[in-house]
């Protein structure tokens, strides 16, 4: 991926960590020498933030439901979920604007309940940026430092450093309403990082930016996170954003964390239909499992269709209801019947979603079920081997999907 001209940071090429790419943040060609950053797999590691059986209720409404999770130092942790799932409440509890109804939150081993927001070693970047409209960019960034009674020249140095980091030197004397949305976003980031917080909270930080700028800024955020070594917790409803920036993603629903894992594991091995469906596109095939080997199952589904062969690390008993989740890009579409494949179905193309680089084919099987298959448009569209109403073969390997109980 070409770094756009906007990003003037370190010239090292960053590789977009899309869903199907390497799990570790890689820096062009040197990926093999970088130690794997997985403190959550290290039993010795102590989490920086610990939620211990935290419940938060607003009247009758339970925003957070008995939640326990640890977030480690230097992590870029994403809270992902639909609106109203409790992710913002979690963040506001970390910042100190809300207190848990039950349970406790520990920051570096210290119970945060009695600590007011202005005494916490956390800083927040607000969704609206919340820049002080009556202060200049410089004064906005210096605001937190002045409250610390920092010596004047130290404030100067720190503000200059933050302005450099976010490339805002030229705008130091402007007021927030005199700069663009992207610049405002960087001021908000600079202001929240200026105090060297142990933990930086980002509430939908890129929501107000257009798509192109958002993508650029995601890489900037990752860069700044690496440079400063600060622990970042980001709240977002944009799954692509969470996958791009985060070291781990927590998928939330109704005040509970459904799954916490690295972006690739969330995508490849979701633990529930909810997670599989929330992240990216997926085919969910309902059926009944029959074990036929270690981690191997034969899944009976629609009448008149041959049972599917699935290899998935799960525990199903004979005749148990199961859901096979399989990503469209793992389903191969062919005009001719392929040989030697684990699973094969025939159907008719119902719909084609043409996205330029890829196309998603909606294929209707004789039983009425629709399966989505995705393939890269390696040929010109005029030379495509199949189109609407054509009969095609769909195939996938036994390991392509995951078998889920719920």
């Amino acid at each position: 991926m070409l770094r756009p001209a906007l990003c003037l940071f370190a010239p090292k090429p960053l590789i977009a960590r899309g869903p199907s790419l390497a799990p570790v943040r890689t820096c062009g060609g040197r990926s093999l020498t970088i130690p794997v950053f997985e403190p959550w797999n290290d039993p010795e590691a102590k989490p920086l933030i610990q939620f211990q059986n935290v419940t938060k209720r607003f009247g009758d409404f339970t925003a957070i439901d008995d939640l326990t999770i640890g977030i480690y130092e230097k992590e870029f942790f994403a809270l992902l979920g639909p609106s109203g799932c409790g992710k913002t409440t979690m963040m506001r509890m970390l910042a100190g604007f809300e207190t848990p109804t039950e349970g406790s939150i520990y920051l570096a081993g210290q119970d945060m309940a009695p600590v007011p927001p202005n005494k916490r070693a956390t800083n927040m970047m607000f969704q609206s940026y919340a820049l002080f409209p009556h202060l200049s960019i410089w004064e906005n960034i210096a605001f937190g430092l002045k409250r610390e009674k920092m010596p004047k020249h130290d404030i100067n140095d720190r503000v200059e450093e933050m302005l450099r980091l976010t490339r805002l030197e030229k705008f130091a004397n402007r007021k927030p309403h005199q700069i663009s949305g992207g610049q405002r976003q960087r001021v908000a980031l600079a202001r929240s990082l200026a105090k060297h917080p142990k933990l930086l909270l980002l509430d939908e930080p890129l929501g107000a930016l257009d798509k192109k700028l958002r993508q650029d800024t995601q890489f900037e955020l990752m860069d700044i996170q690496e440079k400063t070594g600060t622990t970042f917790v980001i709240v977002t409803h944009d799954q692509e954003e969470a996958m791009t920036v985060a070291s781990r993603v927590a998928v939330m629903d109704h005040g509970k964390i459904i799954q916490v894992a690295t972006p690739d594991r969330i995508y490849e091995t979701p633990n529930s239909v909810y997670v599989a469906d929330f992240i990216g596109e997926v085919n969910i095939i309902d059926g009944t499992a029959t074990p036929n080997g270690p981690d191997s199952y034969s899944v009976a589904w629609k009448d008149g269709q041959a049972p599917l062969n699935v290899q998935s690390p799960a525990d199903f008993s004979e005749g148990q209801t199961c859901h096979l989740a399989i990503r469209p890009e793992k389903v191969t579409i062919n005009a001719e019947k392929p040989e030697g494949v684990d699973n094969l179905v025939q159907g008719k193309i119902l719909d084609i979603a043409y996205l330029g680089n890829i196309s998603t084919y909606h294929v209707e099987l004789p039983s009425g079920a629709v399966i989505k298959a995705q393939s890269a448009n390696t040929r010109r569209i005029s030379r495509r081997a199949f189109t609407w109403e054509d009969t095609v073969w769909l195939s996938w390997t036994a390991t392509a999907g995951v078998l889920l109980a719920e």
């Binding site: 100190g96 604007f97 956390t122 002080f132 937190g144």
Partner: protein, 294 residues
């Protein structure tokens, strides 16, 4: 084109008929001499003698008189002092009320706003008379304080400057509350949270964020109170004592007790000139606010 002209013409005609023409008449009277007649001043414009003869009889005698007699500038200064002090007290009472209104739950705000405006539905005079009933020696306030045992002798409040201040603060409070409320209601709650997040206590967040961001409302409210209070006449003459010196009262006495219309008009013209300064400042504040909002 014609349509636009008509549209602009309406407010200008309004201003011309209801402000400029009366002002020119008052200005003319202020340049005349007092006379025992009806109306009690001369000269009058006469077609026979022509405009130059008429103009040559006008002079600035009344304005020199205003400068010579110290009653007038003392009255101007005293009015200024009363206006400044009562504006300050109105701000002191009005700001917390506006703040409480802006922080009240959304569904209450319309009701609270209604309560602030409600007194306007009754006659201003009746409300000032009601204060006479409250503040007099046998009034409700003294009766209540003596009943509770706080005082044994009734306090003399009515016919003092204190009563004038109470009356002014009460009457002009809505003019202070409404612009401040408008500024505070627009204030983004997350700015306060951001200030706290960056290390401010509640109090310092209020000083460093809430106050500066409601500045335009405070300035607007202060001018809306200060400008009319400077020329206030009813409140000092009903609630104030004989030593309460305000230019509005002097003006009234010159007109109706003294029947010296020319001097009274001169007092009015000077008052208007004095008021132009705060009015211009007020306009500039409003303009700045509009620019900031764009």
């Amino acid at each position: 084109m014609m349509r636009r002209f008509t549209l602009i013409a309406v407010p200008y005609l309004w201003l011309l008929a209801l402000f400029l023409v009366p002002f020119v008449i008052v200005l003319k009277i202020s340049l005349s001499d007092v006379e025992l007649a009806r109306p009690p001043y001369a000269p009058h414009f006469d077609w026979a003698t022509g405009i130059w003869a008429f103009l040559s009889e006008l002079d600035f005698e009344n304005f020199t008189w205003l400068a010579e007699d110290d009653l007038y500038w003392k009255a101007y200064l005293s009015s200024l002092k009363i206006a400044v002090v009562s504006t300050f007290f109105t701000l002191l009472v009005g700001y917390p009320m506006a703040y409480a209104m802006a922080r009240a739950p959304q569904e209450w705000r319309a009701t609270l706003m209604m309560l602030v405006i409600l007194p306007f539905w009754t006659s201003f005079l009746i409300r000032v008379y009601a204060w006479m009933g409250i503040l007099s020696n046998e009034g409700f306030l003294n009766q209540f304080l003596m009943w509770t045992g706080v005082i044994s002798e009734p306090l003399t409040i009515l016919n003092t400057n204190a009563a004038v201040y109470i009356g002014i603060v009460y009457t002009y409070l809505p003019f202070m509350i409404l612009p401040i409320y408008a500024a505070l209601e627009r204030l983004d709650e997350s700015l306060i949270e951001a200030a706290e997040d960056l290390g401010c206590s509640r109090l310092s967040a209020f000083w460093l964020v809430t106050i500066p961001l409601s500045k335009t409302g405070i300035i607007a409210g202060c001018f809306l109170v200060f400008i009319p209070v400077l020329g206030e006449f009813v409140i000092p003459s009903l609630l104030g004592g004989s030593d309460t010196l305000m230019i509005g009262k002097v003006l009234w006495e010159e007109f109706f007790s003294n029947r010296d219309w020319p001097v009274a008009s001169a007092v009015a013209v000077v008052l208007l000139l004095l008021l132009i300064i705060p009015i211009v400042l007020f306009q500039r504040n409003q303009q700045k606010q509009q620019e900031a909002e764009q």
